[in-house]
Structure formats: C-alpha cells, structure tokens
Amino acid sequence: MSEIMMDDNGEKKIDDKTMDNVEILAKLALTGEERYKAMAEMEKILSYVDKLNELDTKDVEPLVHVMPHTNVFREDEIENDDGAEATLSNAPKKKENQFMVPKTV
C-alpha cells in the first residue's frame, strides 16, 4: 500500500493541490468557505474509510457484479423514430434543433 494511505504522521490526504484537481475532475466551483469545509469533511471521511486497511484482501478478487452472469444483448434492429423534438424539449439553450453551448475552441 502506498504512503499516501498510511499517513501516520498526520499528513493530510486532501491538500490544496489535490483539492484543485478534484474540483477540476468533478467540475465544481466551490466558494472559499465551501471548499474549506469540504476538505475537512473529506479528510474525516477518508480517515474513517481507512478502516478497510485492517482487512487483508491480498488474495481477494474485487466483486463488481453480484448477480450470476448472463450475456445481455439487443439485436441490431432500428427501434427509434425521429427523436429530435423529445431530445431538445428540456434544453436550456438551443438553436435550429441543436444544443447551444459556450464556444469550445
């Protein structure tokens, strides 16, 4: 296990740099106070979930799907008609049947 997990010397898991990165990944703009609080809470929750390190899971396979396996497929057949109207019905901003977003380049 990496040193990042084992921060016995009181090292923070969520420092400013980590938090900057998490905000970019999560696409959330937090205010100063929100951010401060969120960092403290994440720190606390992460310390708590470190409890899992008590378990020896070296030879344990991760369990992704709990249900017995079955292949689920659909046949290659067209099922849908023109969906433009329904697709755009909740759009915050649109133009000529397209979603409008701030310039991407």
């Binding site: 296990m1 990496s2 990042i4 997990m5 969520i14 980590t18 990165n21 998490v22 905000e23 990944l25 999560a26 696409k27 959330l28 703009a29 937090l30 929100e34 969120a38 809470e41 994440m42 606390k44 929750i45 992460l46 708590y48 979930v49 470190d50 409890k51 899992l52 390190n53 008590e54 378990l55 899971t57 344990v60 396979e61 991760p62 369990l63 992704v64 799907h65 709990v66 249900m67 079955t70 689920v72 659909r74 329904a86 697709t87 019905s89 909740n90 759009a91 915050p92 901003k93 979603f99 977003v101 701030p102 310039k103 991407t104």
Partner: protein, 509 residues
C-alpha cells in the same frame, strides 16, 4: 369504512365491486394531500387536475371492460421524484432538475399504468437520493407524520411519510443503502427493497447504479407484496434486469413461521443500537418464536467494514452518474458563465446541494489516478468478503433479522451537521444493497417518544417470496399496528429483554 383507512388491496376490492368509484378513491387522497401536506411536505408535485380526471375516467372504463388483471386497479399511488414520469415534472428534489419534464416513463411507472393504478403525485426525497433524512431536498424538508419535529428518514422520506399520513395508500420508493427501509421504519410503514435487478431501473435517475433498486412502500406486508408483483419482472431496456421469472407470491393468508430459521447478527443489537430499538426487536423475536420460528444469534464480523465499502462504491458511481448534469441538455444552467468550463463548474456548483457535492467530490477523489486501487478496488474486495459472510449465514437461515436503523427518527436539524455520523446510521441497511439481497422493513413497536421502530427481514437473493411470507406471518401475530396505535394483542411483552438477550447469546433458548 373510510377510504383512507383501507389497505390498498381492500380499496381495490371495493373499486372492483363497484362500492367505491375510482374518482372517490383518488379524490379522497387528493383531499388529504390538500389538507395535510402543508404540514408534512411529502409531495413535490401533485398531478394536474385535468390529466388526473382523464386518467380516472380511463381507468374506471378499463375496470368496467375487465382490462386489468392486477389486484390494485383503480388504486392511487405516489411515486418518488427520482422515478421518471412522462409529462410530469421529475426533479430528484434538486434545483438542478427543477423544471425537468421527462419525455418517457420509467418501466416501473409503465407497469403501474398497465395495472390500472393512478399516479397522484411525486414525493419529496433527499436530493438525488443522497441522505437519510429528506432534509437535503431543495424543496424543503418533509416532516414525520408521527411527530412533525422529527425527520421521516430518507431518502424515500416523502413516499413513506405520504403513506403514514394517509396522503397515499401506497408509494414507490428507491433504495440504494436503505432509502426505503429506514424511512419506512421511521414512519411506521412497510417497505420492500427487492433483489437487485428484480425491478427495472430504466427511468430511475441513478445515484449508484450497482446498488439502486425501486421498491414498494405500503400500509402492510400484503399491500407491498401486491405492488411488488406489479413492478417486478424482466425488462430488456435494463441490462442488469434479472431474466429470472418472478415467482408468484404464495397465498399470504396461509403464511406461517413454523419451522423457519432466523438468524440475528449479534453485532446488530450491540452497543451502537438504542436500547428501546433493541427491546422492540427482541420482543418481535419472542413473538416469532412463539409462532414456531427457530431463532439463533450469530456473528457478522464484517459489520464495521460495511459503511466504508458502501460509501466508496456509492460515491464513486454517483460522481460518474451525475456528470450528465452539466447545463447542456436539460436542467439548471448558469447563463452568465463565460466559456465552457466555467459554465460547467458554475451550473453544477449552483444546481447541486451540499450533500450531493460532497459525495461527488469524494467519488471523484477515490477514482482519481493514484487512489483507485487503494480505495475503489479495496472497497470491491471488501464487498466480496461481506457477500461471502452473508452467503454462509444463508446456508443456515431462511432469513436474517435486523433493526432497520440503530435509533428511531431523529429530530429535524440534528443530522446534517455531522455527515459521517449520518452515514453511520445506515449501518444495518447498506450490506443488503452491496450484496443485492431483498429485504423488508416493517413496524415492530414504538419507543417512549411515540416514534415507530422497524424490523428488517433480510432474504437470500431472489427470496422475496420467503421474506414476504415470514413478514406476513409475523404481522398476523404482531400487536395491531395501525397509524399511531400499538394496541396489545399479545401478552408476552413484559419479560425483561436483557435477560432474554443474555440467554440467547449463551445459546440456551
């Protein structure tokens, strides 16, 4: 008998016989909502009058034509607001989806319609089903009908409060970590979380895809069983939907506990559990033993690891599931933002509430480079160990009995200040979601504050029939429990509980 006092099955029977019209039934409940919901705030949206009238006429005609095969035709129902209803606002109790009107019905809703049921409104919940109190709703808290100073539980707090308050005879909820069972327990109603994949998730706005499951909330076990049978079944639009046929529920009139084996995890009635909750559970155990069940205590060593594993997995999936809310295709958008990334970051920061943001941040972190193995994979491995321990138990027991929550409903405003503490209150419910098991929560007593206490029947995969039968059998011998009253029908409740517990743990029953 008043319409509001009837169970859903009784009401359906009267509608079928023509003693009650569909219009009477729906109007009686709408009237309840109009009169009482100002106090409870169980509903976010009530169906539009015109559409409702149209639907009433259609169903009444359908009943006359013998169109419906279900035993709940004509019965009004409330639907949790994270389940899509075509043409009816579906908000997830979030500012993010404040005006969102789906162009499609969730499969579960389609099944309600096909059964001749009438959706009367959409119920309040914790925002995006993230919370245990229904206090994280963007549209105000829901209050517990038993005591309006207390929370109804969550996240399906609106659905459970609506049934408890007589604002709906039954409701759909969703359960990701206890979100049906815990509020059912707090509100003194019955709720079932079916086996993962039993009820299609198509149209359920995802919180954590591998854990989410839609289920019924009702006044008693039989109502839940009837509603479960309507909504369960394979759906080719949901790849995780079970292909297994839903077996017909046995005749519940014949339900019995005789010869059934029940296991109780010692850790579930240990230190962390409120004494009054413990007493109520043990009293229920005694009643079940009297009815012929064999009860045993056993040890569930993984209990302390369930919450960490759950929060890692649930938040990781949530962080990804909620990425689609970006202000582009639907939902809230900050119109002033300059540039794409600012639009994303502001829309999401302003559209989501605090608890949702907290879980998205945590989920993004545990999946990020360098932490994936340490947190996410570790949680999936823990999940396997938890599942294995339960699988062992189910070799011995027909069902596992547990409290639905360590305490009764907390007071409003006392939970959110310490998120970790709130997460810990899910300790008896989340393992069921991690493992995919079916579980039912029903009332088994009230505490000294007059708040209901719930007991959980947890079954092995696909064993809904078994737990519904056992729960019905218990319901028959349990003291009469109808909206607030817990009148004694069984005398064996005076024995000091602690003694029994001691004896049980020493194995000398």
């Amino acid at each position: 008998m008043e319409i509001i006092g009837m169970t859903a099955l009784e009401l359906a029977e009267k509608i079928k016989n023509g003693e009650v019209t569909v219009k009477d039934a729906v109007e009686a409940y709408i009237k309840q909502i109009e009169e009482k919901d100002g106090q409870y705030n169980a509903f976010i949206t009530v169906a539009e009058k015109e559409k409702l009238e149209q639907r009433i006429a259609e169903v009444q005609q359908g009943i006359a034509d013998g169109k419906y095969r279900s035993n709940l035709a004509g019965v009004p129902i409330a639907v949790k607001d994270n389940i899509c209803t075509k043409g009816m606002k579906t908000t997830c109790a979030s500012k993010m989806l404040e005006g969102f009107v789906p162009t499609y019905d969730a499969t579960a809703v389609t099944k309600l319609e096909e059964a001749g049921m009438i959706v009367i409104g959409k119920t309040n919940m914790d925002e995006f089903a993230m919370g245990s109190t229904t206090e994280t709703s963007a549209f105000g808290v829901t209050r517990n009908p038993w005591n309006t100073d207390h929370v109804p539980g969550g996240s399906s707090g609106g659905s459970c409060a609506a049934v408890a308050a007589g604002e709906a005879p039954m409701a759909l909820g969703s359960d990701t970590g206890g979100s049906i069972r815990q509020p059912a327990s707090y509100c003194g109603v019955t709720g079932l979380k079916p086996t993962y994949g039993r009820v299609s998730r198509m149209g359920l706005i995802a919180y954590a895809s591998s854990l989410d499951q839609i289920g019924p909330v009702g006044k008693n076990v039989e109502d839940c069983a009837a509603l479960y049978q309507i909504i369960a079944g394979h759906d080719e639009k949901d790849s995780t939907s079970l292909k297994k046929t839903v077996e017909k529920i046995d005749d519940l009139a014949m339900a019995s506990l005789r010869g059934k084996t029940i296991g109780i995890p010692k850790e579930y009635i240990g230190e962390g559990t409120d004494d009054e909750v413990k007493s109520a559970i043990l009293k229920a155990v005694m009643i079940m033993e009297d009815a012929g069940a064999r009860v045993e205590f056993f040890s569930l060593k993984m209990v302390d690891y369930v919450i960490p594993a759950y929060y890692i997995i649930a938040c990781a999936e949530a962080s990804s599931n909620l990425e689609r809310f970006d202000g582009v295709k639907y939902g809230y958008r900050n119109m002033e933002a300059e540039g794409l990334h600012e639009m994303y970051k502001l829309s999401r920061a302003e559209g989501f509430g605090e608890e949702v943001k907290r879980r998205i941040l945590l989920g993004s972190f545990v999946l990020s480079a360098g932490y994936y193995d340490a947190y996410y994979i570790k949680a999936l491995k823990t999940k396997r160990l938890i599942k294995e321990e339960f699988d062992e138990a189910f070799k011995k027991y027909d069902c596992i009995l547990a409290p639905a929550a360590p305490t009764t409903a907390p007071k409003l405003g006392t939970s959110l200040s310490d998120p970790l503490q709130m997460y810990l209150s899910d300790i008896y419910t989340v393992a069921v979601n991690l493992c995919g098991f079916p579980a039912l929560s029903m009332p088994c007593g009230v505490d000294s504050k007059g708040l209901p206490i719930g007991v959980q029947f947890i079954g092995d995969l696909f064993n809904e029939n078994k737990i519904l039968n056992m729960a019905t059998a218990y319901e028959k011998v349990r003291e009469d429990f109808s909206c607030g009253k817990f009148s004694s029908k069984n005398n064996r409740d005076k024995e000091p509980v602690q003694n029994i517990l001691k004896i049980k743990q020493e194995g000398e029953v």
